[in-house]
């Protein structure tokens, strides 16, 4: 039988409409961090042991009860007509660049991808996977973009810092973003 704390946590993780962090769970249950962590472990074990279709996922900085992937096809039927489609390649590439460079301007994304990214940015904004987060203090004060919590949930990431590290990207970006093709081509001629 599950203890009271595990039951409380289970109820919270079911009823919430966003992931709940350990801190929030401590406050909501009036328990300490260790007790809460242990209760989560007991809950995980109980769900697994009796073969339920539910799992505790750690995403977007918190915990949430979710169906396990083996039931995806069955459950997806419920949302058939309102589930957004997979992202386009342009959108997912644009998202990758924003995720690794945030906050980041449209021009910076376009410098990496070598193509216009207007419509990709627009569709990402509409799906709330990126947001406008400010302006860059350079000429023209362009808008900057960053990823959202929905981005983390959408890809099952627990934290933006948990994106896999990429050496090439870090090396190249640390020496400055590449300029756009246009400027590459024409600056030589001017010089």
């Amino acid at each position: 039988m599950l203890d009271r704390l595990s039951r409380d946590i289970e109820a919270l993780l079911f009823a919430t409409d966003r992931p709940l962090s350990i801190d929030e769970l401590c406050e909501l249950t009036g328990s300490g961090e260790d007790s809460v962590s242990q209760a989560i472990e007991r809950l995980k074990a109980a769900l697994e042991e009796s073969g339920h279709s539910l799992v505790i996922a750690e995403i977007a900085g918190g915990f949430r009860l979710m169906t396990d992937a083996t039931h995806g096809e069955t459950v997806a039927q419920l949302f058939e007509d309102r589930r957004p489609g997979r992202l386009t390649r342009a959108a997912i590439e644009t998202l990758a660049v924003v995720a690794y460079n945030q906050p980041c301007t449209r021009a910076a994304v376009e410098a990496v991808r070598g193509v216009n990214c207007d419509s990709a940015l627009k569709s990402l904004l509409e799906r709330n996977l990126i947001r406008i987060c400010g302006r860059q203090e350079t000429v023209g004060r362009p808008l900057t973009y960053a990823t959202t919590e929905d981005f983390l949930s959408y890809f099952g990431l627990s934290d933006i810092d948990h994106l896999p590290r990429r050496r090439e990207i870090e090396e190249i970006l640390s020496t400055g973003m590449p300029a756009g093709q246009d400027s590459d081509l024409f600056e030589e001629n001017r010089g």
Binding site: M66, V75, A99, R166, E168, I169, Q181, L185
Partner: protein, 241 residues
């Protein structure tokens, strides 16, 4: 290049960098040791085939074609003072751009896999309706700036479409360049390139026109002349147009 390979239309690529990566992989070239002449040759060959097949070629591809052509011609010329360094800088810049884009392509692939997995994992709908009182105000995240902008856009849409609004410009294709050239050139009259492209327009437009003109020269429909180095390029429409 085989006929099959040409059938891969440019639509399959996310731009010139993507096409270059495809060619580098296809020909098993070393991305870290790019030989401008080889890569440029393959790329230009691909673009040329696409043009022959009457595929629309976006100006971004043409800008890259111009960059590669410039790199290639420098590589072929005897090196003058300071030029060698330029060449290395150019090749290095392209290499870095390709390596960076390749890394992001791989990340995009990883994200795609996560997307496919997490699209099949569902949260509960939550019990907000059940446990919360029915009071007015809003929850952050229900509404984004985009909703505000869309509302504003729709409000102002029918009213003022004044001529001083931003000029939206579709991507220029070679076919469009050729068509525009046809309208502007008269047989037997020399016309300058700048008169054809119009002054103050984008570099992509100039490059697009230039490539279209080179293609038309190759087909014998146009003749080109330049009176001295760096002088205006002039174009003449022949009777074979």
């Amino acid at each position: 290049m085989s006929a099959d390979a040409c059938r891969i239309s440019l639509d399959a690529f996310e731009g010139p960098l993507d096409l270059l990566l495809y060619l580098i992989k296809r020909d098993e070239l070393d991305i870290y040791q790019i030989e401008a002449a080889v890569v440029a040759e393959q790329y230009l060959e691909y673009i040329r085939k696409a043009l022959e097949l009457d595929l629309d070629v976006a100006s971004e591809y043409l800008v890259m074609a111009a960059t590669l052509t410039s790199m290639k011609s420098r590589a072929l010329l005897p090196a003058s003072r300071g030029q060698e360094a330029d060449e290395i800088g150019e090749a290095e810049a392209l290499m870095r751009q390709l390596v960076l884009y390749k890394a992001f392509k791989e990340i995009a692939q990883d994200l795609r896999e996560s997307e496919d997995l997490w699209r099949n994992i569902f949260p509960s709908a939550g019990e907000r309706e059940r446990w919360s009182a029915d009071s007015p105000p809003a929850i952050p995240g229900q509404l984004t700036i985009i909703d505000l902008l869309t509302a504003l856009e729709e409000l102002s849409a029918p009213a003022d479409k004044a001529p001083d609004q931003r000029i939206s410009r579709p991507v220029l294709t070679i076919a469009e360049c050729v068509e525009e050239l046809g309208g502007k050139l008269q047989t037997g009259v020399w016309t300058t390139l700048s008169a054809l492209t119009g002054i103050g327009f984008g570099r992509s437009r100039i490059v697009g026109f230039f490539i279209a003109i080179l293609e038309l020269v190759r087909l014998g429909r146009l003749v080109l002349r330049q009176r001295r180095p760096f002088a205006e390029i002039e174009v003449l429409r022949t009777e074979f147009w």
